[in-house]
Amino acid sequence: MSMAQAVAAHGYGRATSIRQGLAPWVFLLPTLIFFIGYQIYPIVRVIWISFTNYEFLSNEPADWVGFANYIEAINDPLMWQSLWRAALFTIMFLPGTIIFPLLLAVLIDRVTQPRIATVYRVILLIPAVIPSTLVFVLWKWMYNYQVGPINHFLVDVLGLFTVYDAPQWLGGTSLTLPAIAIMEVWWGLGYHTIFFLAGLAAIPKDLPEAARIDGANEWQMFWHVILPRLAPIMMILVVLRFGTAMAVIDEYLIFGGFNRETPTYTWTIFMYDQAFKLGLWRQGFAAAIGMVGAVAMVFVMIFLLRIFRSRD
């Protein structure tokens, strides 16, 4: 007999039991208000907008135009080119952000002195507590051709380039996407290492011992004992980071610009440009671009999840 029933049995229970039923919703209310107001409603609204000729600036009510925006988006070569650019960035970024942390985690996991291990962990998480914009700003300066230490290192210290042919990292050159990818790998390095360290900590210690007694060398052990056990964490990371990499926007706004020819003009920037920058403010079309991009990437994510699932 639950509390509610017990109270109800005593007669004055109806009001109490209604209050009992409402209580969870009172606790959930703040979350629901924010989540519905600023996540669910906006998405539903954007889907609706994508089927209309909606414009903020126009006083006329929006008309339903069916799939016209989608047809226009799909027939625009820029849509596919901009999606490809996002994919290109993802290809540059994803391997580095998995492999380096994995390597680092395996090494740090072997550090036996607790003090030193703690110091490493704290340093690892420092980039993770630097807010996104501050990471981008810092690296924008690092890549600066005038004062940036990266070109200083390449030109003055290593002598690989002269001042005249030093690499131009910023401003939408072919180096801008790799530059952003390097920055993102740096940013995630510590956080992902911590992730893998948690996975390594969960491996029972007698497993590697047993493998060693069986005569496995370090490499075999990593490949056959450790890696399979880290696979679930790795899959989550791959899918999550694929999602963030495909939908990058802030970095392109800060490092790139709105030149359609540049590699940083991806589908997110295409959408943003149409919605807020070009004088036209065609939100209907912009919404369709956003939906095409989002659906395309979610499709790949589901595909990845299915591959990973089937391997279990």
């Binding site: 924010f34 420092i126 807010p131 690296w139 300066w141 004062v147 919605a275």
Partner: protein, 301 residues
């Protein structure tokens, strides 16, 4: 484990071997040396950009253009200079603090209440709520919904308003915060809550006096995660506001052109250090609790 297993000296490559090995110290410990060298290389890579900006903020102006890491002449006046010469600086800093504190407070409140309800209260539809929160983590909602969020904000008359930013900011990490709190409250035994209910305590009291102290570490994780997001948010702030004096500090920094006017490079770097330091210092103090929370709630799945 049997006694025999303890006695048997299992050889672990890389660990400092103490037995009478005829080889030299380096030979014996080559594994450990190489390992620490590689780790330390990565540590330097992580810290170098921060060291560079810190040094930049105390370089003299001519040195700032020279590119050498270590300046010939130090100049500590840039920190004072930026407050004197950049008139929106105190306002921008205040905006950042205000928006971030409000966001962290609201998100944490939502997450604690919802996390408790999702674990220790029963109602229909909770499974759906959890599923929706989980799925939302994988979708690019932040990017795609910017169009309609602009619309909502202009409907509420919150365009170009600092306070208006708080509403969308709360949602940025709401799902993950609620899910973290949910897994924290799962560590609190049902029987404990039931016993308190039998003693006549209401849910509010149980949450306040039993629940909160137990989920403390998870709360630290939520504070830090939301602090980091709100403190450095760019997309919403730069889209929903126009004037420099309603924006947050990082967004102003991102727009500043280095080397021009008031924004000499050391001045920029000084502002940068001022903005980035609070987070790192707060984390340094909270790191123990943070790691505990991380271990308990976040990486559990």
């Amino acid at each position: 484990m049997s006694v025999q297993a303890i006695d048997q000296p299992t050889f672990r490559p890389g660990e400092i071997a103490e037995t009478g090995d005829p080889r030299g110290w380096f030979e014996r410990n080559r594994g450990a040396v190489v390992r620490h060298a590689v780790i330390n290389f990565f540590m330097i890579v992580i810290l170098a950009p921060l060291a560079w900006v810190l040094i930049m903020s105390i370089k003299s102006r001519p040195d700032s253009m020279r590119g050498d890491f270590w300046p010939r002449k130090f100049d500590f006046t840039h920190y004072g200079y930026v407050f004197e010469k950049i008139d929106t600086l105190p306002v921008n800093l205040f905006n950042s603090i205000y928006v971030t504190m409000a966001t962290v407070f609201l998100t944490a409140t939502c997450a604690v209440l919802a996390g408790y309800a999702l674990v220790h209260m029963k109602a229909r539809g909770m499974g759906i709520i959890i599923a929706v929160l989980l799925v939302s983590l994988y979708l690019p909602i932040r990017v795609v919904s910017i169009i309609s969020i602009y619309e909502i904000q202009s409907f509420l008359n919150l365009i170009n308003s600092t306070s208006g930013l708080i509403l969308p900011y709360v949602t940025l990490n709401l799902a993950i915060s609620v899910l973290i709190m949910r897994s924290m409250f799962q560590l609190v035994p049902h029987q404990m809550i039931e016993a308190a209910r039998m003693d006549g305590a209401g849910h509010w009291r149980i949450l306040w006096s039993i629940g909160l102290p137990l989920v403390r570490n998870g709360l630290v994780v939520i504070f830090i995660v939301n602090f980091v997001t709100a403190w450095g948010e760019y997309l919403l702030c730069s889209t929903l506001t126009n004037d420099q004096d309603v924006r947050t500090m990082p967004v102003v920094l991102a727009a500043a052109q280095g080397g021009l006017g008031q924004w000499t490079w050391p001045a920029l770097a000084a502002v940068y250090v001022l903005v980035v330091a609070p987070g790192i210092i707060a984390f340094a103090f909270a790191q123990k609790l943070f790691f505990k929370g991380l271990a308990e709630g976040v990486v559990k799945g």
